[in-house]
Symmetry: C2
Subunit: 346 residues, 2 copies
DNA sequence: ACGTGTCAGTGAATCGTGTGACTACGCTAG
DNA sequence: CTAGCGTAGTCACACGATTCACTGACACGT
């Protein structure tokens, strides 16, 4: 059951009555050589008739570059805004004559295999890579570029090195609440191991910002699956937190989903949002604005980043050695809605 | 500014004091040749010391296959469940010694370019491809496999050929409402051109199911951006629909986001959900269960599909000619929550 | 007639790997 | 002595596109 062999440039040459060199020159539109229109037409016609497509591997071998840009994504859901950044980056990369594809690594399969298959000219990464994976990229002689959000392309030490973006988003969340007058907040985070790195970074960002502002270190509650049991758990924690002499007046949530859990829990406790309790999310999930009350959140404005990243990629390929991770602050933006207000007067 | 050249098998050979062939045989673990342990060790050591990685393009050229599986995604946000399917498929494909990468096409860049860069062994597609793109795949001699959801791999005619999955999901939505006793429903869809194919399929699914069940054809409202204006528009339409002798008692929404818009609009009109109006979404957005009331929705259970698709890919590569699109019905599941109930008694 | 220049096009090397065909050698059985 | 065999390893080609260096042929000016 053999597929009919795909046509090669030799087939085109034979059909057009010219040499392979001529085919190559004509099809690549080289300005080095000029061919009379008649010859050019013969070649183009033959190529079209045969449905000739140059063999990618052969071309890559000869040229020395594959033209593939590989974006490594963490094994996490891709939200709407990340999705549109992806589309934007794809077009931007395409404009440089290269192709962007993404690999959703996860834990099981090794990045090494994929590198061997693709031979990308550069690897982009959204989150810091594990040392073994970063080594794989380095050994293959492939430049590794971190998205501004990631901060650094590889984990420096252990699993506990959060990316810059995570730290900043946590800090921004707390700063926004502090600006509204909150002095005592709590953190709602997630326990799932897959998300540990993200979660830890965000919590750590809140902690450090609290430290900087001279606030108490916030109590932290880690949740499992976001289900009814989680709502119950949060409700229970809330009743404890809002009692006592120094009650918690605001909640930093891991993302908008967990903020929704918090809203449900607050409703169950009879706490009004934001009068009794302010709630801040992260991610600007499109659904957030239709919650009751509409959710104040922090948005990653990835789209602005896309162009910058692509430029960085181009620069690296020109030979620029190590571009410093660009400023990522402008990427984050507080989206103010009704779920955050001033703390209750005492 | 030239990067240090990456080591080739010739470098390894020189370092180990053997020929290139020996290096190749040893590293590929061929059983054709047997080499004494000492030689084998020398080669392996040299390769390790140099950090040798075989050149992907050269290998692909020689082998005649790149080992890359390309998944073409539509330019739409990737939800949580689609994301986990992606991870699952990646591992499953990796287990067959190939690599799965995804390309988020969108409108601008051509798939053709990417095919030329990657030379995939097979192209998977989530939604039917435009004829031009399908041709590009076919001309390159690459088998094209449709995910069960897509139904067929290429649009048959015009932009108006919805995929099977879309039709089914719309039908399922209406059937569920009909099972609850609703006789007159309305449809809330989306006007964005990017989503036109999806939107049209879902609406069409609802329409045909209504026809089959002998119900009236539902009125349709197409919304722009899901914002406050959209809420207003829906509220206005609702007041019209629920008046009169045969009032609308349920809403089929394009997805959970638009269902949330509907909930907000219903609240504004003073309509209670589900007592006065039932609302059904699509996608099982994780946030849906935390809306008030929790949203009844339809879930694409992609994870069950992953293995099946990968098996299909393997089959195609073995030479099986054209696998019929598998049954996709089990992929869809109604998730019953509180936003759908019986219609109000008249 | 000669040097120079341009046009139209070709030959052959090159990229790095994988592998079937082959050699060189030592040993043993007949 | 030699045919036969197993071991240890090498040679050289193939994969397909690209591109440098080159050849004829012709035109032009002196």
């Amino acid at each position: 059951m053999d597929r009919p062999r795909r046509p090669t440039s030799a087939d085109v040459a034979a059909r057009a009555g010219v040499s392979r060199s001529t085919v190559s020159y004509v099809l690549s539109g080289s300005t080095q050589h000029s061919f009379p229109q008649a010859t050019r037409d013969r070649v183009l016609l033959a190529a079209a008739e045969l449905g000739y497509t140059p063999h990618a591997a052969a071309r890559a071998l000869r040229r020395g570059t594959s033209g593939v840009v590989l974006l490594v994504l963490a094994d996490v859901p891709i939200g709407a805004n990340l999705g549109s950044m992806l589309a934007e980056m794809t077009t931007a990369v395409a404009a440089t004559g290269r192709s962007l594809v993404t690999w959703t690594g996860g834990v099981g399969p090794t990045l090494r295999e994929t590198l061997a298959h693709l031979d990308p000219v550069v690897v982009l990464t959204m989150a810091p890579l594990a040392p073994a994976e970063a080594d794989a990229v380095g050994n293959a002689g492939i430049p590794l570029v971190a998205m501004p959000y990631a901060g650094s392309a590889t984990q420096t030490v252990g699993p506990a090195a959060p990316s810059r973006g995570e730290l900043q988003v946590g800090a921004l969340q707390l700063q926004h609440l502090a600006a509204h007058g909150h002095r005592r907040v709590a953190v709602l985070t997630v326990a799932e191991p897959r998300l540990a790195l993200f979660a830890h970074g965000r919590v750590e960002g809140v902690r450090r910002a609290a430290l900087d502002l001279g606030l108490d270190q916030p109590p932290v509650l880690a949740l499992g699956e976001p289900d009814d049991a989680a709502v119950e758990a949060v409700a229970q924690a809330l009743t404890g937190w809002v009692r006592g002499p120094a009650p918690v007046t605001a909640l930093c949530c891991y993302n908008d989903l967990y903020a929704a859990v918090a809203l449900a829990a607050a409703a169950r406790c009879g706490l009004r949002v934001p009068q009794d309790l302010s709630v801040a999310g992260i991610d600007d999930d499109p659904l957030g604005r239709f919650l009751a009350p509409p959710l104040t959140t922090i948005r990653f404005d990835f789209r602005d980043t896309a162009r910058a990243v692509v430029e960085q990629v181009a620069a690296v390929l020109e030979g620029a050695p190590l571009p410093p991770p660009g400023p990522s602050s402008q990427v984050l933006r507080v989206v103010e809605r009704a779920s955050v207000g001033p703390p209750p007067a005492r």
